[in-house]
């Protein structure tokens, strides 16, 4: 049962998340019909699941909620802001009570009944509601009598998979019975269609079952057959000789037994009172309702796989890619065209296999962004600030575990931005800024890293205050001269908090030091930039979980390196002399000035004026920088392996890869190279 419960909870959580994003879309566009349908469907599934697991408290709760959306989707009601707020509150409550389905927590209990009364208030707004019932227990009368049942299926009865004999068997199991079959007459064999039902039956059964139970036997058949049920409160009809005589006559004939005749026979049986309940079933025909098919419904088909298996798959794919590289090299050195074809096919397949298997662990960052949308909305209400939330690069993909670990830190940062960063609308107006503040979440790839930025246009961080605080805490000395950036870094020190007043919203013990620790645990880094009254930008850098990348294999002085293809913009051939004689390190490429770094000289190899070099223009944030190498070998799928501790501090190398011939190539992080180079140039300038 534990496994069942775990499945229930996991699914309920998914459903609730789904519900939340649909509701937030509805907030901006209350008439979006497909989303209302989606909301209804999710609630419906949740109700069904909860009741299946006997969690009547939850089922009842969701039932009431569902009633509201049922009315909205049938246009009996409008989706108001009040309803939406109430639903979102109910959603938060549901997230808690799926773990506390008996409302043992007193807070939950109180909340529960408060919400229920609020929900019912809305639900009753349209028209009367139907209370949710878990079980409709029925009281059975235990009087043994004889049922006379006339059962005549329609001719197409068999076409929906029904089997009339099963129903008759079911009746026969209830007690002593007598069945008289009848057949319609088929004049010619050519008219005979085995798909058409030509049989009908008269059934007499002595049982103490209630009329309800007898009807239940025909529950699936009542629309496709004529069913008349008549109850006699006596037994003994089926043993009666007059009856047996009549039954024999009618057997297999098209004509049925006549009710009046049976009544007559029953009357002649001299036992007790023969009161009869006149219960003749009537068959109703109702026109079918046209069902609207919601084509916009999203596919959420997925399966769960243990992460161990995935890891193993990744490892195998990595091995495969390495082996494939050897094969490619071998086929290049051999002149067999057949081998070349095979090798190329394997390369294509392994590339696809790699993409698919690595894509499995990645999820779009969008999923997480949606959660913050809600946070910003709730907080702006609470703080009385007007804030618009913008996301960018939601399609950026990250490993699922990284995204999960990131949620809390990001939540904290956004809270901080909203609480301490963004000013109240009036203050903003005085400063000449738009009334509405902005919090922006931005994600993008760079090199083999993913960057996430949280940008606000609030009042910024006061460098002086941070400095004073840092001195008072003993993090720095009064006479130390530090750059603003260095001072801002104190924010991440344990025990540092600049907010004068700890508000309800942020600053509840979890400080930026915890945020930093969380991100460092993910092998990432965080930095902060801030300008007074212009706002604050926090940048989180995370390693890309992909361990196989598409790279450009290059050669510098006989040593091979890999540059991630994702940063490469364009390649040029330049004269060595042009680079070496250059005094401002700028080259004119396609009529643009591009700064460049000569790796040969940076790596302290011998340089020469003769010949040409290849210049690879890579993007570095918003800029483009050229990086010169001796020559380009070609595209290469690199399985990036971590490098030993001796290289740990050389962060311009992000890893190493094994080439087809078994030798090793280092994977370069161009972003770091540019950064290092810039520092280097600045230092030289100072000297």
């Amino acid at each position: 049962m534990d496994e069942l419960k775990a499945t229930y909870i996991q699914e309920a959580q998914e459903l609730l998340e789904n519900l939340e994003s649909s509701l937030l879309v509805l907030e901006d566009n209350p008439s979006d019909h497909s989303n209302i349908e989606q909301v209804f469907r999710v609630m419906h599934t949740l109700k069904g699941n909860s009741s299946m697991f006997g969690l009547s408290v939850i089922a009842e709760f969701v039932h009431d909620l569902e009633t509201i959306y049922d009315k909205i989707r049938q246009s009996k009601m409008d989706l108001s802001k009040g309803i939406l707020n109430c639903t979102l509150a109910a959603l938060d409550h549901l997230k808690l009570i799926i773990f506390d389905s008996n409302l043992q927590d007193s807070g939950n209990k109180e909340n529960h009944f408060r919400l229920i009364s609020e929900i019912r208030l809305y639900a009753d707004g349209g028209s009367e509601t139907t209370p949710f019932q878990m079980n409709n227990a029925e009281v059975e009368d235990k009087i043994t009598g004889t049922y006379f049942i006339h059962f005549e299926p329609n001719s197409d009865f068999l076409l929906n998979g029904s089997n009339p004999l099963l129903l008759i068997n079911e009746l026969a199991e209830m007690g002593p019975s007598f069945v008289v079959p009848h057949f319609k007459i088929v004049n010619d064999i050519s008219e005979f269609d085995p798909c058409t039902c030509i049989a009908s039956w008269d059934i007499l059964v002595e049982t103490d079952a209630s009329l309800e139970t007898i009807r239940d036997v025909f529950i699936f058949a009542e629309d496709d057959a004529r069913i008349d049920i008549h109850k006699f409160l006596i037994t003994g009809i089926i043993q009666n000789e007059a009856f047996l005589e009549k039954a024999k006559e009618a057997n297999l004939k098209p004509e049925h037994l006549v009710l009046e005749e049976i009544i007559e026979i029953a009357a002649s049986i001299p036992v007790e009172e023969k009161e009869e309940a006149d219960q003749t079933e009537e068959v109703q025909l109702v026109t079918p309702v046209q069902k609207k098919i919601n084509e916009k419904e999203k596919a959420i088909s997925s399966i769960r796989v243990s992460s161990d298996k995935l890891d193993e798959l990744m490892n195998l794919v990595s091995e495969l890619v390495t082996t494939q590289a050897s094969l490619s090299l071998f086929s290049e050195n051999n002149t067999s065209t057949e081998l070349e074809v095979i090798s190329e096919n394997i390369e294509k397949l392994s590339r696809r296999l790699r993409d698919i298997s690595f894509g499995m662990t990645l999820i779009q960052i969008n999923n997480m962004f949606a959660r913050f949308q809600r946070l910003v909305r709730d907080m702006s209400d609470m703080l009385g600030k007007e804030v618009v939330f913008i996301t960018e690069g939601g399609e950026t993909e990250l490993d699922k575990t990284i995204i999960e670990t990131l949620t809390d830190p990001l939540m904290h940062i956004i809270r901080n931005s909203m609480d301490h960063g963004i000013e109240k609308a009036e203050v903003r107006e005085q400063k000449g800024k738009p009334r509405q503040g902005m919090v922006k979440l931005k994600a993008y790839y760079s090199g083999i890293s993913v960057f996430i930025q949280i940008i606000d246009d609030g009042k910024g961080i006061d460098v002086r205050k941070v400095r004073e605080k840092a001195i008072s805490k003993g993090f720095m000395r009064e006479e130390d001269e530090l750059t603003d950036k260095e001072i801002f870094d104190f924010i991440f020190y344990p025990g540092f908090s600049t907010a004068e007043v700890v508000t309800d919203v942020s600053g509840r013990g979890v400080g930026m030091d915890v945020v930093k620790r969380n991100i460092t645990d993910l092998k990432g880094s965080i930095s902060v930039e801030s300008k007074p009254d212009a706002g604050t930008t926090l940048t989180i850098k995370l390693p890309l979980s992909l361990s196989i990348i598409d790279g450009l294999l290059v050669d510098i002085y006989g040593v091979k390196y890999v540059i991630p293809l994702s940063v490469v913009r364009k390649c040029y051939e330049v004269k060595n002399a042009d680079m070496l004689k250059n005094f401002n390190k700028l080259l004119l490429l396609d009529d643009r000035q591009v700064p460049y770094i000569n790796l040969r000289s940076e790596f302290e190899y011998e340089v020469t004026m003769e010949g040409n070099s290849q210049l690879i223009v890579v993007s570095d944030g918003d800029h483009e920088v050229g990086i010169s190498v001796d020559h380009i070998v070609g595209e290469y799928q690199a399985v990036v392996k971590p490098i030993s501790k001796y290289y740990r501090n050389q962060d311009f190398v992000s890893g190493a890869t094994i080439l087809g011939d078994g030798s090793i190539a280092l994977v370069l992080d161009t972003h770091k190279i540019v950064e290092l180079y810039t520092k280097h140039v600045k230092m030289e300038g100072k000297l």
Partner: protein
Amino acid sequence: MEKNILIVDDSESIRLVVSMGLKEAGYNVVAGINGADGLRLLNENKVDLIISDLNMPVMDGITFLKEVRKQDKFKFLPLLILTTESQESKKLEAKQAGATGWIIKPFVKDKLLAVVKKVLV
């Protein structure tokens, strides 16, 4: 002979509960996550009975059962609808589309088995 039952429901919990109940009673169970998946499984397995949800993404229950009935070989295959909607209109609609019967959620195992027995020879 063992009977094979195909369950089609988008909710993993429901699939689990139904298949556990049926497996305990000695039936073989295959499970699909929506109508389209159900159709695929139906053609890949020998199926004696289908139990399908109505509200499903990609292909809902009504469309699914119409698709099933379109194929001659499944004309007489018993097909039960699994639904919380006890409203007459839904049941009728399903009947019109070719459903043999229905099971109303919530149900207990005994009820499920009783209904299955009702339609499965």
